[in-house]
């Protein structure tokens, strides 16, 4: 009985204009398994599961559910067939509450036909609690942090009571504690016979929970392996067609002078915004040529700190001192920050990083326009050349610089944000979750790039929720807890345990 797959996809193909996103792909999902889908950015993972979840209705190939051939006219059809999906990009309605989002399109009704708000809230809260999220279901989703929104998405998929659950990078915005909780839930679901398709770029997660791994490359299946039998290198080899050289622990140059000096930075917002942790006593320094990591739990205030340094944070009274080079720096706004050589890659690339409908080229050159114009006129050949170089440098996979960014895969979109800021040749680069959703090969490229940038004298301050990333990449790790610096760990003493302990606020006293 377990042999009969819940879902069988055969010969799936999908083209977007000239791009063959998927080509003749076969995939099965059986009850009680976690079937991991791996592949580089743009390999076609999301496209494939969009076919399965009814988002893409025109495609080649067939889908069988329980042995019966089906054809979905829309996402609702797939849901009815028992297929629930957590999409890669957070697709929630900001103006509705958590509960309303979770039950959107299938609201429980009272006998009068009105929405049974209490039942909705109760169930929403129960689902969230299993994920370890203590959120008031009445809160508007727009006021949630990205990580919390991700939990809401997961909660919604769970509440669908599906037999097949598709998760497209569900942990991209989650911190370790939530990830653990999610895995516990996945284990439970697996035990209950749910078939799970799991997409992630985090190899460690795959090794932890996958029963079967299918690797996609350039829209085709490169191979299906048993993760317990295959080594990480084998899988990576399948993914990128070569082995990825050691990312970590390269020899580094000696850092130079202190470039960024932050002392006692605190922001008292004029009107507090729920869910934001403004800096409340941050001390840190970054030297030129140095990569400094920012660690902390979800909501520790890393994002807010970076935003404040870039002048893009909330308004309010500011205390403390910030110095860049040897001149005091009062972050006045993104423009002023860029003029002082400070660049910022925000964590929410779709909301804050990109003009999705605009072309790749237009996005890349937006910040640096003033250096690409004469008398206010854009120098097209120069722009074209610059964009081409930048895309090559970052190995962006895009059919052409003139296609809309929205059609790029998630990881490649991230690289575009990156490219835009690097064009400004900043002295200080602020990065917020720069490798979220980026594939392992691209990640390696980004790490190399960061090293090169640091070696050329750039100072880099990087917030990340992936501890291994911080540990391998950074010269020092600054740990935040509730908006204040609680520990500064040099590379030698930075371990996973030490960071986590500090992040949980365990040694707040010590560090005072």
């Amino acid at each position: 009985m377990t042999d009969r797959p819940l879902v069988r996809m055969t010969g799936i193909g999908k083209r977007f204009g000239g791009v063959h996103a998927c080509r003749d792909i076969d995939l099965t999902v059986t009850a009680g398994e976690v079937h991991a889908l791996l592949g580089e950015n743009g390999a076609g993972k999301s496209t494939l599961i969009n076919v399965l979840s009814g988002v893409i209705t025109e495609h080649d190939g067939t889908i069988e559910v329980d042995g019966e051939s089906v054809s979905f006219a829309g996402p609702a059809d797939a849901q009815r067939a028992g297929i629930a999906t957590i999409h890669q990009e957070l697709d929630l309605v900001a103006g509705l509450s958590i509960a309303e989002n979770m039950f959107l399109g299938r609201e429980p009704r009272t006998r009068l036909g009105t929405v049974d708000i209490r039942r909705m809230r109760r169930q929403a809260e129960a689902h969230l609690r299993t994920l370890g999220a203590d959120l008031d279901p009445r809160r508007l989703v727009g006021s949630l942090r990205v990580g919390e929104q991700q939990l809401v998405e997961i909660g919604r998929a769970l509440s669908l009571r599906a037999r097949v659950l598709i998760m497209d990078e569900p942990t991209a915005a989650l911190a370790d504690a939530e990830v653990e909780r999610l895995f516990a839930t996945i284990t439970e679901l697996r035990r209950a016979g749910v078939g799970i398709v799991y997409i992630s770029h985090r190899m460690a997660e795959i090794e932890l929970i996958a029963d079967r791994v299918t690797v996609l490359r350039n829209g085709t299946v490169a191979g299906t392996v048993d993760p317990r039998a295959a080594s990480r290198d084998d899988i990576i080899q399948l993914m990128v067609g070569r082995s990825v050289d050691a990312l970590f622990g390269e020899g580094r140059n000696e850092p130079g002078d202190v470039l960024l000096d932050v002392r006692g930075l605190a922001v008292t917002p004029r009107r507090p915004v729920p869910g934001r942790t403004e800096p409340a006593g941050v001390d840190l320094t970054v030297r030129s040529g140095e990569i400094v990591g920012l660690a902390g739990l979800m909501g520790a205030g890393r994002t807010e700190l970076l935003e404040t340094l870039f002048g893009a944070g909330g308004s309010g009274r500011r205390a403390g001192q910030v110095t860049i080079g040897d001149r005091p720096y009062r972050p006045g706004g993104p423009r002023a920050a860029l003029a002082r050589g400070v660049a910022f890659v925000p964590e929410d690339r779709r909301g804050a990083g990109l003009m999705l409908e605009h072309s790749v080229a237009d996005n890349v050159v937006l910040s640096a326009l003033s250096s690409l114009t004469t008398l206010g006129l854009v120098r097209r050949p120069l722009v074209r050349r610059t964009v081409a170089e930048q895309l090559t440098t970052l190995a962006v996979k895009a059919a052409s610089p003139s296609i809309p960014v929205a059609t790029l895969s998630g990881g490649n979109q991230q690289k575009i944000v990156f490219a835009k800021q690097l064009l400004m040749r900043p002295r200080l680069l602020l990065l917020d979750e720069p490798t979220r959703g980026v594939d392992i090969g691209a990640k390696a490229e980004i790490y190399h790039l960061l090293h090169r940038l640091a070696d050329s004298g750039m100072a880099i301050l990087l917030a990340s929720s992936e501890l291994p990333e911080l540990l391998s990449l950074c010269d020092r790790v600054v740990v935040l807890h509730r908006g204040r610096t609680v520990a500064v760990l040099p590379r030698a003493s930075a371990t996973q345990q030490a960071i986590l302990a500090a992040a949980n606020g365990d040694d707040v006293k010590e560090s005072r």
Partner: protein, 354 residues
């Protein structure tokens, strides 16, 4: 364990015991703040109301603005715009706009008069036919928006012209007066109730407006339909992915707007004892102003019906107090412009979301 229905197991939010009393929700700051700002659309209204009292002329020691007759007049005067604005709120919530409402009002007014006076129909069939025409007109516009993906601004701008043209053709270009009585070419007496009032105090159109407003407020609070409306306006893709019938909701929303515009047209005919094809010109802008002053975002996805009602009343009070003080018509235009901006600015005090 062999559960009869595997689906249920997988889904049931792992083990919530069927407690009798709902979980006590933590009295959470966020929710309170959110709710507080839901009522914020009232700020502007209250402010304008207080100012109106303060600057009102008085007559025989009585505050003219506060006299019950005057207050009733205000509500009566805004009732048509208010009813239209209620429908417009739905449209704007899904991120659309309906410029055709004023013309549909004119069409409905002509229809009411023609059907009763020329065709000799009774009140009920007349009202039903006219409401049907308005609904169908709105639904057609909605279908064009939803099917062809054309921006509603342009569809309803075209609809405006079309409705106006049809109304003029139907009426022969002239207003059709409504006389009451039993004879031919006369409308049933009962129709004139629309220009009367309850107990001589509450004008019937005001009553209808308030009833529609409260009804819509409840609909927007309590129905799944309303959630779908907000969802489409807030994030259409998310709505579609969640299985919301986006097209159907769109068509329904424009149909509602057409329906309410037609209702306003019937009231218009009843109040003025005439169906004139040119009436209602520019009402769309007033209605939109009421909606926006009420705090609904033209980008869609956020706003409230209470705000719209407050916005309509605010505009009514403004018109009234300017008139009571005999402000020159041209100065009035300027002052009104300033107050509208100020009222909108007040709405902006609400905290912003990301």
């Amino acid at each position: 364990m062999n559960p009869p229905n595997p689906t249920t197991v997988a889904a049931s939010p792992p083990e919530t015991p069927p407690r009798r009393r709902a979980i006590r929700l933590p009295k959470d700051r966020h929710a309170i703040v959110d709710n507080f700002f839901r009522f914020q659309s009232l700020f502007g209204l209250v402010a304008v109301f207080l100012i109106a009292i303060a600057v009102s002329p008085s007559r025989n020691g009585e505050n003219v603005f506060l006299s019950s007759g005057n207050l009733a007049n205000i509500v009566r005067a805004v009732s048509e715009i208010g009813i239209i604005a209620v429908g417009m709120t739905f449209v704007i919530l899904i991120g659309g706009i309906d410029l055709s409402v004023g013309a549909v009002l004119g069409l409905a007014a002509v229809g009411s008069a023609t059907l009763m006076v020329d065709s000799g129909l009774g009140i009920v069939p007349t009202v039903l036919i006219v409401l049907f025409i308005g609904t169908a007109f709105g639904a057609t516009q909605g279908a064009i928006v939803a099917r062809l993906g054309i921006q509603s601004f342009i569809v309803t701008l075209a609809g405006l012209q079309a409705a106006r043209g049809i109304a003029r053709m139907w009426s022969g270009g002239l207003g059709i007066p409504i006389a009451y009585g039993e004879g031919p070419q006369e409308a049933p007496e009962a129709f004139s109730l629309l220009s009367g009032s309850i107990n001589g105090v509450l004008p019937v159109p005001a009553l209808i407006f308030l009833a529609i407003g409260v009804g819509a407020l409840l609909v927007l609070r309590s129905t799944a339909f309303a959630r779908h409306v907000y969802a489409i306006g807030g994030n259409e893709k998310a709505a579609r992915l969640s299985g919301v019938p986006v097209r159907r909701v769109r068509v329904t929303v424009f149909a509602i707007s057409g329906l309410l515009a037609a209702l306003a047209g019937i009231i218009h005919a009843g109040q003025l004892n005439q169906g004139s094809p040119n009436d209602g010109a520019g009402y769309e802008l007033d209605a939109i102003a009421a909606v926006v002053i009420g705090g609904t975002s033209l980008a869609g996805g956020s706003g409230s019906m209470g705000g719209t009602i407050a916005g309509a009343l605010l505009l009514g009070i403004l018109n009234n107090i300017l008139a009571l003080n005999n402000i020159d018509a041209n100065v009035q235009l300027v002052v009104k412009g300033l107050v509208i901006v100020a009222a909108a600015a007040l709405q902006r005090l609400r905290p912003r979301i990301a």
